[in-house]
Amino acid sequence: MSKRILIDPVTRIEGHAKISIFLDDAGNVSDAEFHVVEFRGFEKFCEGRPMSEMPSITPRICGICPVSHLLTSARAGDAILAVAIPPAADKLRRVMNLGQIIQSHALSFFHLSAPDFLLGWDTAVDKRNVFGIVAANPDLARAGIRLRQFGQEVIEILGGKKIHPAWAVPGGVRSPLTTEGREKIRAWLPEAFATTKVALDLFKKVLSTHEKETQIFGNFPSLFMGLVAPDGSWEHHGGKLRFTDSSGSIIADQLEAKNYAEFIGEAVQKNSYLKSPYYTPLGFPDGMYRVGPLARLNVCEQMGVPQADQELKHFKSFGRGAVTSSFLYHYARLIEILASIEFIERYMDDPDLLSNHLRADAGINSLRGVGVSEAPRGTLFHDYTVDENGLLKKVNLIIATGQNNLAMNRTVAQIARHYVRGNNIPEAMLNRVEHGIRCYDPCLSCSTHAAGQMPMQVELVSPDGSILQKITRD
């Protein structure tokens, strides 16, 4: 008689989710699933709208990832106009994306994940949270907020509004960087560098005392996918797609995003509204791949900026070919923050950013456009089909978090097998399972376009429906 444990919802991630852990009669974990219960239907909602509105509509899917949707949507619009945007506009969009990476990764590291590995998995839940970090290390907590503020400032200086900047449009962007804005960004840089280095040093110490977590928190072979530049450098906005395997071998390279349907399939799983993309040449589920910081650092050969390149070398030493442990997502995030700051520093010396040559004007020249960009959580696709008037007939969004769905399932199962035993479920064990999900920093609001929270309840349920054990988190 098998049993099922539910963790519903997972704390400290955006949106609704629950984790089911299935035990066999011996009390061992037989399987586990991470599944989502919310549904929103955003793609259908967009049908009939003018394509030109999408950069202002899609950012409102989520309050954490609006810039990612804004920029990817604009790129899909560029493709429908069939234009090459001015170089200044491309650089400005890149700077905004770098700001987005910084602020999103800062939130994930300092507030959502750090309470676990800095305060200890077995720390009581009323201490193992951001207030615990504030009490244990208030300077670090403040620095983390400030780092996120820096990313937000970059976005606001460019877009004029933090959450929904309607600044990137099909064909380019609406406004340049001002000299005043440039000086404001430059003034932030020393502090941003200092905070990131503190965080990197801190996490390397964490790694030295968390070898077990590195081994079993989502450590398994998989493919990895991300954008790369023509020379194989780290890319976040532009470039082409690359797949590598866990030996580090490139199995597909310089793929055009517009052809994504040739190599990415989407499976719908029972008990979840989250679609599960996979690499079609290997089929489902063998074609499981990961996206996001871990994947981007695995598929690239260098970051392209010196300090981050040093860290990348150290990062890659944790794998044989590819780094396969999902616990290292945290390290990868910090390296990407560092790279982003280095690139922003470089861009601030580029006079192009002050240019007024920012838009290419054109009509509807293609009835389909695919935009791709690296959101903080992973590769994001916007696929629009329009009529001759530019009204949307079909929208398909492949969200970063959804592409990690299969890997998150496998991560939950792996951790649960090590920690969950019998009918007694200590909360600290459950938190390790949840942390496996947090490694991916999922944004379920985008994946299923929903948001919300419920009190958490964990139930051990037998097949006949009787509840063997119940744990409640208020």
Partner: protein, 167 residues
């Protein structure tokens, strides 16, 4: 580590009243929070700062800690059919932060991180419609007007001045 020193020493102007309106503008009436904040911003009154947000996030603790008074504006589906404003206290230690924070969490963080938590209020506007879409129902628009009247009652007299926050 004292990364904060330079910024604090520079000093920042503190608003007498900070209004933070939050909600999803693509979920019909859920937009009442940001729409209220945008309306307050349109008053262009000295000493009043207004922020329209999709959701509450940790960096808001910085302006919160600097303000003299904070009003959070949000939609509610759980209340009676009147706009209500009630005082807010900082959260207890067992509350968890996610990507979207609770206003009480932000007050607690402002207090713990910056040693300052101003008087705060939660102003809730009851709504009918959370479906995907733009546009407000009649009752939501009326709720915004009532909310603006309540916020207006908190606005200090024309002779008040903003303060500098020193480290």
């Amino acid at each position: 580590m004292n990364i904060m020193a330079k910024r604090d020493a520079a000093g920042e102007k503190a608003p007498a009243l900070l209004v933070i309106g939050y909600g999803n503008e693509l979920r019909s009436d859920d937009a009442v929070g940001p729409k209220t904040a945008e309306a307050v911003e349109g008053w262009q009154l000295p000493g009043i700062r207004s922020l329209a947000c999709h959701q509450l996030t940790p960096e808001l603790t910085v302006p919160i800690s600097a303000a003299q008074c904070v009003v959070f504006v949000d939609a509610t589906v759980d209340a009676t059919d009147t706009v209500a404003m009630r005082p807010l206290a900082p959260a207890g230690p067992d509350q968890v932060m996610t990507h979207a924070a609770d206003p009480r969490l932000l007050l607690r963080m402002a207090k713990d991180l910056f040693n300052r938590c101003p008087p705060a209020f939660l102003l809730t506007i009851p709504i009918e419609n959370l479906a995907l879409g733009e546009g407000l129902s009649t009752s939501a628009r009326e709720g915004i007007q009532s909310a603006l009247n309540l916020i207006r009652s908190l606005v200090p007299t024309p002779n008040f001045e903003t303060q500098k926050v020193n480290s």
